[in-house]
Amino acid sequence: MPLITDELIAQHNLTREEYQQIVTILGREPTLTELGMFSVMWSEHCSYKSSRVHLKKLPTTGPRVVQGPGENAGAVDIGGGLCLVFKMESHNHPSFIEPYQGAATGVGGILRDIFTMGARPIALLDSLRFGELHTAQNRRLMRGVVAGIAGYGNCMGVPTVGGEVVFNDIYSFNPLVNVMCLGLAEKDKLFRGTAAGIGNPVIYVGSKTGRDGIHGATMASDSFDDEAERKRPTVQVGDPFQEKLLLEACLEMMAAGLLTGIQDMGAAGLTSSSCEMASRAGTGIELELSRVPRREPHMTPYEVMLSESQERMLLVAKAGKEAECLAICRKWDVDVAVIGRVTDDGILRVLDHGAVVAEIPAKALAEEGPRYDRPFAPPAYQELLTNLNYDIIPDVKDANAALLSLLESPTIASKRWVYEQYDHMVQTNTVVRPGSDAAVLRIKGTDKAVAATIDCNSRYCLLNPYEGARIAVAEAARNLVCSGAEPIGLTDCLNFGNPERPDIMWQFVMAVEGLADACEALKIPVVSGNVSFYNETKGLSIYPTPMVGMVGLLDRADRAMTQWFKEEGDDIILLGTTREELGGSEYLKILHNREQGVPPFLSLEAERALHDCVLNLIREGQVQSAHDCSDGGVAVALAESCLSGPGRRLGATVRLTRGRLRKDAVLFGESQSRVLVSAKPAHRRAILDAAEAHAVPAAVIGTVGGDRLVISLADERSDDTVINLSLSTLYDRWACSLERLVNQA
């Protein structure tokens, strides 16, 4: 029995106090295996020790909530006995070390979280952050991550229908790879990760266990430093074919009524799945490790308990159903073994050939880990970021050039190069494919559809984490609304730096409060989520990036709306108010190389009114297109509506009233709560009336048609054409830029 030394404790990322807590719980010194189990379960990644006190502020209830946070994924009711199960997760650190496998196994993990619930996965979305593509390393990371997501998702037959890609050098040494998955289940047939029924068999299903990713969970709770090199062997290789078989086998066992509980073996593998299932049910579990299928010889109990080999599940079957479970697994050619049983003593007891190697109260491991209310305070530099004197920034001279620069900046440019590598049509539900404000998927056997999107402007969050988080929620909801969907649920993935730093913790606390307030105001419950801390390299933190994944519901799939113009002669109407707001804009970054200022103002009342108005217009068939104004402002939104359709591209002639505002603010400012719609002229009156009834400012700003985008700015004295570009010029810059940047030598 090795002596637990201070060094060993430090290697396990446990503090002296945490270790003392372990000794108190056990009433003795832990064994090495026990120390390993505590260290992974009490890591930031698994225990949420720094975030839990704040996450409590998020609103998690609502009439549609079937399952809130606390399970493998959340679920909302979509009527007709069905529910939508969804969650988002990060795989940032593994993707930096090995982009293809890191991203691929990230997809594998979130898929398991969904089918664990008894839901068949119907869609994936991915939200990515990379450094700018001027370095070979950033290009390699991007190529690898996209290929990894494609490699796994495509093979699984789950369409990747949406997401985000944003570029900023702050992510060069810590890219973000967040993946969200949606699944569909019958509401009363949801499965949960509980080990109920004393004496029930505990069954291991899936890939054999190897020495993969041992300490993956603690790695995700640690920053990168030069020792990243040393940690490399922990990379895991994904096997999507195995996962596909596992998916089918699990769904078949669930449908046959053989199971009482099920959980994937994700971070912290067999340890987390077993102790969490027991803890939720208030039971214990006894495992015999010699029965665990293995890929490598001579694995120690420590390694078996901590392995993060992919594509594995832990099931609790109903007593007497073992044989049927085994038969289904054999049919699908997946490894399976009965490795333990449910006990009544609340203890996770691990045996190796009959000898006890670990004996820990399951609740202590899963729920009674340390909790920290870490100190937080705004950083001294915060004021420098937001103080921006606009007098020193000249107004735009050549608006044509400015628009083209924005359209070809990779954050705004078309993401076709990415989403064409993803199968986004398999399962034949994709009504709105990637390339519009939100993806829309019909629900077979009903008239309904669901929409999904991920959004976060992390520059806003840097400048003001509270406002930035509120805007992320508002923008996600607006994207759904523009697709004709009513927002019904939210999942988040909170990517931040080191929580032990008060400035980072301040960003986190502010962001969570922003999320909470926006969700409260827009009545959108948070049903699942994930926290990823320690996103920093050599002391440099990423921008605070609270990714918001949101789902919406359409009563009629055939009313799904898209962002592109449809017909010559249609009116173009701008809903919402344009203010002089350039702070944190893509325009300031691209044209003036500044990431500064105050993010745009957001009134959640105005936002709600806008949503009600737009949803009504779409439901009544009064608009032909709807597009949210975000990065790059109205000018970019107009260009996107001209260019992004699958058929013939349509131009537009637009006149914007400038008033006393700067030209660049009118064209490229990112004022919130604005939507661009196009409509047949016959509907103009009804639309303007509806807008007035909802107290939403509305202006007819132009007409669809021709093969140019022409924008003029008017004030009391003049009416100047400031943008006049052919669609082919615009298209070339916007559609081909990303591919050019990724493939540059």
């Binding site: 093979c155 074919f241 596909k244 050619d333 989403y419 590598q421 993803y422 049509m425 398999v426 034949t428």
Partner: protein, 243 residues
């Protein structure tokens, strides 16, 4: 009609094919597990898209040894109608039911998008409702779709009108620009010499409803059903003429 959709481990368009034939075209569909050894009672067989056996080693290479493939081969030899879509096409090539082989896309990337194909042969059971030269818009989704065969084989494909679909521009011109994967002769789909086995890379089942954008794939699937009806009538006629 009773169509069999074969389910290999790793198939992932099997349910899409089931849905389109059953719910959109109103036919009976039987899901055929790859370990079955008989396809008795089926009027036609569909090998769906996906990643059978993960497509590890080569696409379709391992699936061709599934027990059901012997029965499929026999069914085809007796004139039964067999449609292989995407991975199904790759399996038919590996199994030798169609000539040639599939290479990695020239771009080396998986590609998922709409393309145009022209119907080069409108006289097959899969295209009988098409006009010759008709241009269809249809999605592709594959990483290994660059069709290859030696020059002799290609010549005989041409001579026998076995090239059924070719990638083309929206106006029907078959150009290099229209080729999404580097396929020889812009080949998107070929049939066997007898005409009863078709393999195609594009996915007709993904565009058979207007809700999904367009429904050009429907004419291919409906042709297949129409051909089965004719085949049955012909059989009945022959039977009635027997003494």
């Amino acid at each position: 009609m009773n169509l069999g959709v074969v389910v290999f481990p790793g198939s992932n368009c099997d349910r899409d094919c089931q849905y389109v034939f059953r719910d959109i075209l109103g036919q009976d569909v039987t899901m055929v597990w790859h370990k079955e050894r008989s396809v008795a009672g089926l009027d036609a067989i569909v090998l769906p898209g996906g990643f059978s056996y993960g497509d590890y080693l080569r696409t379709g290479a391992i699936a061709r040894f599934s027990p059901v493939m012997a029965a499929v081969k026999e069914f085809a030899e007796e004139g039964g109608i067999v449609l292989g879509i995407c991975n199904g096409f790759q399996i038919l090539l590996e199994a030798g039911l169609l000539p040639g082989a599939m290479l990695r896309n020239e771009s080396l990337h998986f590609v998922c998008r709409d393309v145009c194909i022209t119907v080069d042969n409108a006289a097959t059971p899969f295209t009988c409702l098409c006009e010759p030269g008709q241009v269809l818009t249809i999605p592709i989704a594959h990483a290994d779709g660059s069709y290859y065969a030696d020059p002799v084989t290609v010549a005989s494909l041409k001579a026998n009108a076995q090239i059924v679909f070719r990638y083309c521009m929206p106006d029907g011109r078959v150009t290099r620009e229209a080729n999404p994967n580097g396929s020889l002769e812009n080949i998107a789909g070929i049939c066997n010499a007898a005409g009863n086995v078709l393999g195609m890379m594009p996915h007709p089942e993904r565009c058979a409803e207007s809700l999904l954008g367009h429904q050009d794939g429907r004419v291919i699937l409906a042709s297949l059903v129409e051909s089965l009806v004719h085949q049955r009538l012909r059989k009945q006629e022959l039977l009635s003429q027997l003494p």
